[in-house]
Amino acid sequence: MSQELYTNLAIFVLSLLVGFEVMSKIPATLQTPMMSGANAIHGVVVVGAFAIAAEANNWYFYLLAFLAAFFSAVNVSGGYTVTDRMLGMFNRPKDKPADSKKEGDQ
């Protein structure tokens, strides 16, 4: 096994563990925004679209690079926008101190 593969594999496995750890119990209210937020993060594939565009040198590869750029741009831009819109709706209660009394239930 090459050093490069080993490094990548180690990063992969450790990142999986971080993912499992960071995601403890999520309140149901936040599950949909969380899914949408995670969806936006895998939009990082856009970096890959840049990387392959650099290697493209004929129409077939240009077409694939275009497709990858288009797909990933939809994923990343739409993903962050819709997540932010959803989460923005939960922010209103903050300017009302009224909901501090609801801590007392079982």
Binding site: E4, N8, F12, S15, L16, V18, G19, F20, V22, I26, P27, T29, L30, Q31, T32, P33, M34, M35, A38, N39, A40, I41, H42, G43, V44, V45, V46, V47, G48, A51, A53, E55, A56, N57, Y62, L64, A65, L67, A68, A69, F71, S72, A73, V74, N75, V76, S77, G78, G79, Y80, V82, R85, L87, M89, F90, R92, P93, D99, D105, Q106
Partner: protein, 471 residues
């Protein structure tokens, strides 16, 4: 390492840290929005850095830049416009669509690199295995998520779709993927294994999603989301970019946990959901919960208006039917009318009410329902005894008292104790069973009356009659 390579590595590291902290912050409502913005900043850093790297390398052709930016621009415009304009009821299918294109992008990168490298002679296992996983998983999530989008938006029937021989075809698809895998790893210079693996994984994604009922789709979308994360991580192996590996693995793992939690909230197991065929309308249960309730009382919008106008405490129980009828504006209007008349109005929100866990909170927040009126399961259940009128709108299984007994499809599911309130009004289109296919004895209880109508229309009528009695 040159100066630029060093700073690029560090910037990618910072970007990865932003995702992890961002996800961590998204677990609490107070910090969720900032968490998402932080993860977005990480993303921007990664994109800027790869651009700087490309400029520095100078390898990319002018056509390459044009093609890249054309794709990005069209994609950004499309994505942002869609995300800004989508009504909150349609968010689930939009997330699924964004997930589909993410998987598509990962698969495309795999296809690109395989064909690019395969022009040479032999490929190392370190290359061919990740590239294969990238293409196969990306292909599955692409077609699977598109079907899920179709099912959620109604373009594809939400009912479980199966046909004779679908299991066989599924088996053939799996076999074809294995054949393609062996072929690709053994003789990596040929194009055909690529075509075979791509077609087989697209077919598999299609067949995997088709037999699953519409109400299970959220869990499937979440699972496919985790898949896309893995596909992106493998794309990272292929192009040797660590930020893709970290972010992809993070989403893969976090998405898996989220999927399990969603399934748990719906009282279903993931394996059970993937087996499909659930909720097709055909009665699968036996014993408890199959007999149709008799002596059901029907009521009118006028009567409901009267009840509400003379109540002190009203609990609104919104469900899938409310989201489907897009009646959230009417509900908010009715609640405001009652609140203004001095009546105490709250909403009892079941964790899986709506089309996805937490979706109902988003829908109601969108129409300016005050946050402190939205009561979660435990809090709502402590309030039903003092509730004069519970108004159940398009909810069924989450109110079914049979869940407290054993031996039926919903046994053990946490429910809202609507039956404890003094009077219950259920707005529903018909007596049909809910998603679980279990009859609801709540409908035939003494204090319950039914209003058979579309949620939106019924609420409009109730608003009109309530106004009349409040004057």
């Amino acid at each position: 390492m040159t100066w630029l390579q060093t700073s690029a590595s560090l910037i990618y590291l910072i970007s990865a840290v932003c995702y992890v902290i961002g996800v961590h912050m998204m677990r609490s409502p107070k910090t969720a929005r900032r968490g998402n913005i932080l993860s977005g900043i990480g993303m921007a850093l990664a994109v800027i850095m790869i651009m700087v790297e490309l400029i520095d390398q100078g390898k990319i052709t002018l056509t390459g830049w044009i093609v890249l930016f054309a794709g990005l621009l069209i994609g950004i415009v499309y994505g942002v416009v869609k995300a800004r304009k989508v009504p909150m009821t349609d968010v689930p299918q939009l997330v699924s669509l964004f997930n589909a294109v993410g998987g598509g992008a990962a698969a495309t990168i795999g296809i690109f690199d395989y064909t690019h490298e395969a022009l040479g002679t032999s490929l190392s296992l370190a290359f061919s295995i990740p590239v294969l996983l990238d293409i196969v998983i990306g292909g599955i999530t692409f077609s699977g998520s598109l079907i899920a989008t179709g099912k959620l938006s109604g373009h594809v029937s939400g009912k479980p779709i199966s046909f004779p021989g679908d299991k066989l075809l599924n088996g053939i698809a799996v076999l074809a993927i294995i054949v393609a895998a062996v072929w690709m790893i053994g003789f990596p210079s040929a194009y055909w294994p690529l075509v075979l693996s791509l077609v087989a994984s697209l077919v598999f994604g299609l067949l995997m999603t088709m037999p699953i009922g519409g109400a299970d789709m959220p869990v499937v979308v979440s699972l496919l989301n985790a898949f896309t994360g893995l596909a992106v991580a493998f794309a990272g192996f292929v192009i040797d970019n660590q930020v893709l590996i970290i972010a992809g693995a993070l989403v893969g793992a976090a998405g898996t946990i989220l999927t399990l939690q969603m399934a748990e909230a719906m009282n279903r197991s993931v394996a059970n959901i993937l087996a499909g065929g659930f909720g097709g309308g055909e009665s699968t249960g036996s014993g408890a919960g199959t007999e149709v309730p008799t002596n059901v009382k029907e009521t009118s919008a006028d009567d409901v208006g009267l009840q509400l106008a003379y109540a002190h405490n009203v609990m609104i129980v919104p469900g899938y039917g409310l989201a489907a009828a897009q009646a959230q504006h009417e509900v908010a209007e009715l609640a405001k009318l009652l609140t203004d008349a001095g009546i105490n109005v709250n909403y009892a929100i079941h964790p899986v009410a709506g089309r996805m866990p937490g979706h109902m909170n988003v829908l109601l927040a969108d129409v300016n329902v005050p946050y402190d009126q939205m009561k979660q399961l435990d809090e709502a259940n402590s309030m039903f005894e003092n509730t004069d009128v519970s108004l159940v709108i398009g909810a069924n299984d989450v109110t079914n008292p049979l869940a407290r007994e054993s031996g039926n499809a919903i046994s053990g599911m946490p429910i809202l104790d609507v039956d404890k309130s003094k009077s219950v009004v259920v707005i529903k289109r018909s007596m049909s069973t809910g998603y679980a296919g279990v009859q609801n004895p709540l409908f035939s209880e003494d204090q319950t009356s039914m209003l058979f109508d579309d949620a939106k229309k019924a609420l409009q009528d109730i608003i009109a009659s309530t106004k009349q009695y409040l004057d």
